[in-house]
Assembly symmetry: C2
Homo-oligomer: 340 residues x 2
DNA sequence: GCTTACAGGGCAAACGTTTGCACCGGGTTT
DNA sequence: AAACCCGGTGCAAACGTTTGCCCTGTAAGC
């Protein structure tokens, strides 16, 4: 009943030629006459022939599939990153196998395993928060599957990675706030353990220091990303003898929670206190009180860059040229985005 | 240099048995002695053997990959749906190939083609807005790839689909608003052309009618989902001689835009006017003015249901039993979610 | 007329795995 | 003692495609 899927064999049978001829005709091999090629291609089109990429992989050891693993898909940042990856992949005839780690290392392991079983040609991964060592990714080496890390990258050097550094962006943001005549700039950072927090804090300290001011650690709060955590941080800031006239939040989600609490305290958002943040997520355009400035990390571009890097690696895989095998690093510049 | 990937052959060679024995041992075939099985399994583990699923597909004509195509990943609704799909897939040993149509039919075609080339075992798709006929999905029949439609489903009957109907939810929402003593309930609907708009409108009319009230079409506005479109709709509602005391928005994004405009007009949100909406997206928990009630369509559950349905179809694919081949429909109930 | 060259195309192996069938040796039936 | 059964295992084909090598026929070169 289900009329069989056309194969190269079928074409060969109908045209009374051998399968090898068909194969070569389809790939424009010079040894095949134009006439035969035309006949083959015509019939292929008529039968709606599509090569079975699994069989090709089997022969060529390439699957034309690349794996993409992110902590969460629901975060604006990652969904945009995936779009960047996907677009470049499609341009190059690749498809993406997808998985989420939900920020858990066991899940990450499971997904990495699944990708390995599927014999992906390469992997782009943004590490889960729990992932400090990447031994589960070492096994990919044995399978000769190259890995490109994306945004949440290991700090070790011996890897390919695309990321951005928030240090400069933070310094710029502080400069800008000073120009708006803000003098008491507070900062709600994320948990101290993660690198992203350190980058931001370093930038904050540098930014304040450049104005020859002393950094007041009372102005630096921390949140665990929960609503309560952020509320408490804001509460402490507002309770200071000299409360801040600007608050930088770790990201736009923290920003929203901060605003929510400040509103309850009758703070005039972006008047009494200017609110700044990181990420520049899409919903900022819809919310009543977006941050006046947000540091955009251009996830789409990061995704594009990561996929291009992977394509590059795949190209040069067979090369004996050692130089082509060096580990690639790419730092994407950030930019301030203003909401008026 | 790249130490070779372990195969079943390698195991056979080392253990001095045939590949068939290894294959059977690995799959717990009853004819193989426990001793041999143990030896094989032990060595397999030691070598870190992982079956090459491409080769298996080749033999079994199953890839253990299912394709998932959605209009956008950045929408909260779809990202949750995908998570539901993914979790069920993983439980069943399947991995997902992912693609976005960006609400364009040409992109949808391209992605469907890519999935076909990869010989996915099945496909779950939420149609793009542009897709009215699905001839490009007909070609999947020839490849014997079953399709389950998800949320954005074709209205025709001869398909498998999981969806929810907003009619009841809308009626319930109106009832609830009446109970809050709201008498002039306005409605900002989406473009008339899409089914989702019709369902909502029908529910709105039914809800109002049940109170024996006449439906005032001045209270029914429309937006094209742009910020301006929504702003104009709100402006018209506020300019009415008898402005509304409740506004239902097409979804939470429209809701946000509506609130943003209303704030400018000094409306006291959720006091002067109660705001209600659909979708119950995650950021509602962070925003300053979430809708007091939102109709949750449980995208995660829908995703789960869709994947389970597909697993079911795949199970019964070989069945000659016609009953098992009937087209499956599943309607997921919605629920009101209140934000206090 | 004979060799040589080359264009055009076919044969068959290989990729990793599954599976129907055959085989073998020892124990049970008759 | 012949016939049978059965647990345990091996053989080989098959899946769709690519590719190194070989074969054939015709035309050019001598």
């Amino acid at each position: 009943m289900s009329e069989s899927i056309p194969t190269i064999k079928e074409i060969a049978r109908r045209l009374n030629v051998s399968v090898s001829t068909v194969s070569r005709a389809l790939s424009d091999h010079p040894r095949i006459s134009t006439k035969t090629k035309e006949a083959v291609k015509e019939l292929a089109k008529a039968l709606n022939y599509e090569p079975n990429s699994k069989a090709i992989f089997f022969k060529q050891k390439r699957s034309f599939v690349i794996g993409v693993i992110v902590p969460h898909i629901y975060e604006d940042f990652f969904s945009k990153g995936i779009s960047g990856i996907e677009d470049v992949a499609l341009e190059n005839g690749y498809t993406i196998l997808f998985g989420q780690s939900h920020d858990r290392i066991d899940k990450e392991r499971q997904v990495v395993d699944a990708m390995k079983n599927q014999r992906v040609d390469g992997l782009i991964i943004s590490l889960s928060k729990e992932t400090n060592k990447s031994d589960h990714l070492k096994t990919l080496d044995a399978y000769n599957i190259p890995v490109v890390y994306f945004d949440r990258v290991p700090s070790l050097p011996g890897v390919n990675k695309v990321f951005c550094n928030l240090f400069e962006g933070t310094v710029d943001m502080i400069e800008w706030l000073f120009k708006q005549d803000r003098k008491r700039i507070a900062f709600i950072n994320g948990p101290g353990a993660i690198i992203a927090s350190k980058e931001r804090l370093d930038g904050y300290i540098e930014g304040i220091s450049r104005r020859k001011l002393k950094v007041d650690m009372q102005m630096v709060e921390q949140t665990d990303f929960s609503e309560e955590g952020t509320h408490k941080a804001v509460a402490r800031l507002l309770a200071l003898k000299k409360p801040p006239d600007a608050i930088i939040s770790f990201n736009d989600y923290v920003h929203m929670d901060a605003v929510k609490y400040a509103l309850k305290e009758h703070v005039k958002i972006n008047e009494d206190i200017l609110f700044a943040s990181y990420a520049n997520i899409s919903v900022n355009k819809h919310t009543a009180y977006p941050p006046v400035v947000s540091v955009d990390q251009f996830p789409y571009s990061q995704g594009e860059a990561a996929m291009k890097m992977l394509m590059d690696i795949l190209q040069h895989k067979a090369d004996e040229d050692a130089a082509a095998k060096a580990f690639l690093h790419k730092e994407i510049p950030v930019a301030l985005v203003y909401n008026s």
